[in-house]
């Protein structure tokens, strides 16, 4: 099967630069095009795509863009129309796109409009007998490799699975694609950070700190120490710039109206019904369940855990090091050492 590839991209909040996930998709597109000896096109969705196109000129790919004020807002109706127009113009057999919120929202709909099919959360691509895509099933419990005989085939790539493309900006030859917009009934009014003392979710952080329900359980003195736990956790985040993940049980306590760790929301949750973030290292504290260790930690590099339970079956084989200790005592010392080092 002779293939041709289109990579869909979009700009970030600045409106000028492509998102990191988009640049990762560009790398994936370049690699796959080289493996298949296939022509590559890159489509850009932006209010003004001049700078974004310039950053891609060295790829040598055919550059297509839709631009205009309507595309400044991430919104289903306008983004789907934009991506549909790009795909029709490129007439590619394989369409790669970053698994960002913006393109995840619309890609399936676009695939349907083009009579194509979509697979998402792709972590690896290979060109063997045909194009093969790797993804996870059952929330990162089963890994599968799949292929499709039908085209166009849309593949949404998980972020962090490819290096971000970087090249010298230069004047680019860009094809402007006209889009027929439907009636727009949705207006995006902006972004809102969750109600919490500080932004604790940092996807770009090197490290993930996982807080488990043990932080709010009764301690050795028979009392709970939730405020102290909160201070220790936030102190560690401040000192290291780490991102905060939580087990479902701890987040649920907050949802039930118990003022446990007020800075935690469901957005922090990792595991079966939460995120599966990618960080170079992770430290789990007071977690005793399967979820954080098996599902939430799937894509964490170096993993360490502090637990009171020497027989916790979920840390064995999942963490590199498990410290059998009281997390309150250890984290207080860690924070003190980190502060001293900064001073």
């Amino acid at each position: 099967m002779t293939e041709s590839i289109l990579v869909l991209t979009h700009v970030d909040e600045s409106g000028a630069a492509l998102t990191k996930a988009s640049l990762e998709a560009v790398t994936a597109g370049l690699e796959l095009a080289a493996q298949l000896s296939a022509p590559l096109a890159i489509g850009i969705v932006a209010a003004d795509s001049t700078a974004a196109a310039a950053s891609l000129s060295v790829t040598g790919a055919r550059l297509l863009t839709v631009s205009g004020e309507a595309f400044a807002q991430p919104r289903y109706a306008s983004d789907a129309a934009a991506c549909e127009a790009l795909c029709r113009a490129a007439a590619a057999s394989i369409v790669l796109a970053p698994g960002s919120a913006r393109l995840t929202r619309v890609t399936a709909g676009v695939a349907y409009r083009l009579g194509g099919f979509v697979d998402t959360h792709i972590t690896a691509l290979a060109a063997n007998a045909g194009v093969e895509a790797t993804r996870w099933f059952y929330r990162q419990r089963v890994e599968g490799v799949l292929s499709r005989d039908v085209r166009p085939w849309f593949l949404l790539l998980d972020s962090g699975t490819h290096a971000a493309f970087a090249g010298e900006a230069a004047a680019a030859s860009v094809e402007q694609i006209t889009v027929e917009l439907p009636a727009l009934r949705t207006t995006v009014s902006g972004l809102r950070a969750p109600m919490q003392d500080a932004q604790t979710i940092r996807p770009e952080a090197r490290m993930l700190l996982v807080a488990g329900a043990g932080w709010t359980k009764k301690q050795s003195d028979g009392q709970t120490h939730a405020p102290e736990a909160g201070e220790l956790i936030l102190g560690f985040l401040r000192a290291t710039g780490a991102s905060l993940g939580s087990s479902k049980s701890l987040v649920d306590q907050g949802g039930e109206g118990v003022p446990v760790l007020p800075f935690l929301t469901h957005m922090n949750q990792i595991g079966q019904t939460g995120a599966t973030p990618r960080h170079a290292m992770g430290l789990s504290t007071c977690c005793h369940g399967e979820e954080p260790h098996v599902v939430g930690w799937r894509f964490i590099g170096d993993r360490r855990a502090i637990s009171l339970d020497p027989n916790c079956g979920w840390t064995r084989g999942k963490a590199d090091v498990v410290y059998i200790a009281d997390a309150f005592q250890v984290m207080a010392k860690v924070n003190a050492l980190l502060q001293a080092a900064k001073a």
Binding site: Y76, A101, T104, R105, A108, G109, Y112, F117, T120, H121, E132, F137, Y138, R139, R141, V142, E143, G144, V145, L146, S147, R148, V150, R185, T186, T187, V188, S189, G190, L191, R192, A193, Q199, R202, M207, T240, M267, Q272, T273, M281, L283, E291, R298, R303, P310, G317, K318, D320, V321, V322, Y323, I324, A325, Q329, M331, K333, V334, L337, L338, A341
Partner: protein, 270 residues
């Protein structure tokens, strides 16, 4: 009843998250070992959608909630014994396969055809709810495909909140990157909302709600139409458990300050 809405919740059933899952390959492709005997639950994010739907319907008199679910009849019946006690809804069961390996496009086609044929559904008042991803395939595309097939072009994914306004418009909070919500205002129904966790706790079991639901659930299950899912050119090369067993060093004999020093060195070294 200016804001009465017709909410269709699409929700699948999934193996209980606490079960150990083992993939096996059969003549029809991959599946799970002992899939039919694994205890099942309503898909967690779709369950959030159902609870949010019931809450929204309760606040807007004249509203109605349908629960459209595709799965083996026996499994659906088992799951409904619990779910029916939570909130009121009309079940629309479809007798078909479950699991993470069937193609989402086929599932969406069956769901859309079923919703299209729902008696009493006013499409202009329709809010199509579901989980933004399932706990099986986790593709996050089924709801969008159903929406496209129904011609609904206002779609939101990773929704944590909807606020219906007097004029029929509504504000939606969608999860986006960096732990933020995107705030959008839609002029009104119809719309598709793929829910994340929302803000509501799981409702307590209410036997009266359960009895009222079961009066219609059992006859609906008996009449469930069978559905066959097409492969759409999808081929599985492999499906396996990850082989990432780590050699764990269990440290039992270090004092907290020694552990802290080791951790700080580890953090610094990286």
């Amino acid at each position: 009843m200016a804001n009465a809405v017709h909410i269709v919740v699409c929700a699948g059933i999934v193996p209980d998250p606490l079960q150990t899952l083992e993939p096996v390959t059969g003549p029809n492709g991959p599946g799970l070992k002992n899939e039919m005997v694994l205890p099942a639950v309503l898909d967690p994010w779709a369950a959030s959608a159902l609870y949010e739907a019931a809450n929204l319907a309760a606040k807007n008199p004249g509203s109605k909630v349908w629960l459209v679910s595709l799965g083996p009849k026996a499994k659906l019946q088992q799951v409904m014994m619990t779910v029916a006690q939570k909130v009121g809804f009309e079940l629309v069961p479809i007798d078909g396969p479950i699991g993470g390996f069937p193609d989402a496009h086929s599932t969406a086609a069956v769901l859309a055809d079923t919703i299209n044929a729902l008696p009493g559904l006013d499409r202009t008042k329709c809010l199509l709810f579901g989980g933004w991803e399932s706990a099986t395939r986790g593709a996050g595309v089924t709801l969008q495909l159903v929406g496209e097939r129904l011609g609904i072009t206002d779609q939101f994914q990773g929704v944590d909140e909807i606020s219906l306004r007097e004029d029929g418009s509504f504000e939606v909070l969608e999860r986006v990157e960096g732990g933020k919500h995107q705030v959008s205002v839609c002029a009104g129904t119809p719309a598709v909302l793929g829910w994340a966790t929302g803000n509501l706790p799981e409702p307590r079991n209410n036997p009266q709600v359960g009895m009222a639901n079961m009066r219609t659930i059992m006859p609906a299950l008996q009449k469930a139409k069978p559905a066959k899912l097409e492969a759409n050119g999808l081929r599985y090369i492999s499906a396996s458990l990850p082989k990432q067993q780590r050699t764990t060093r269990v440290v039992k004999d270090m004092m907290p300050d020694q552990i802290a020093a080791e951790l700080v060195a580890w953090i610094g070294a990286k």
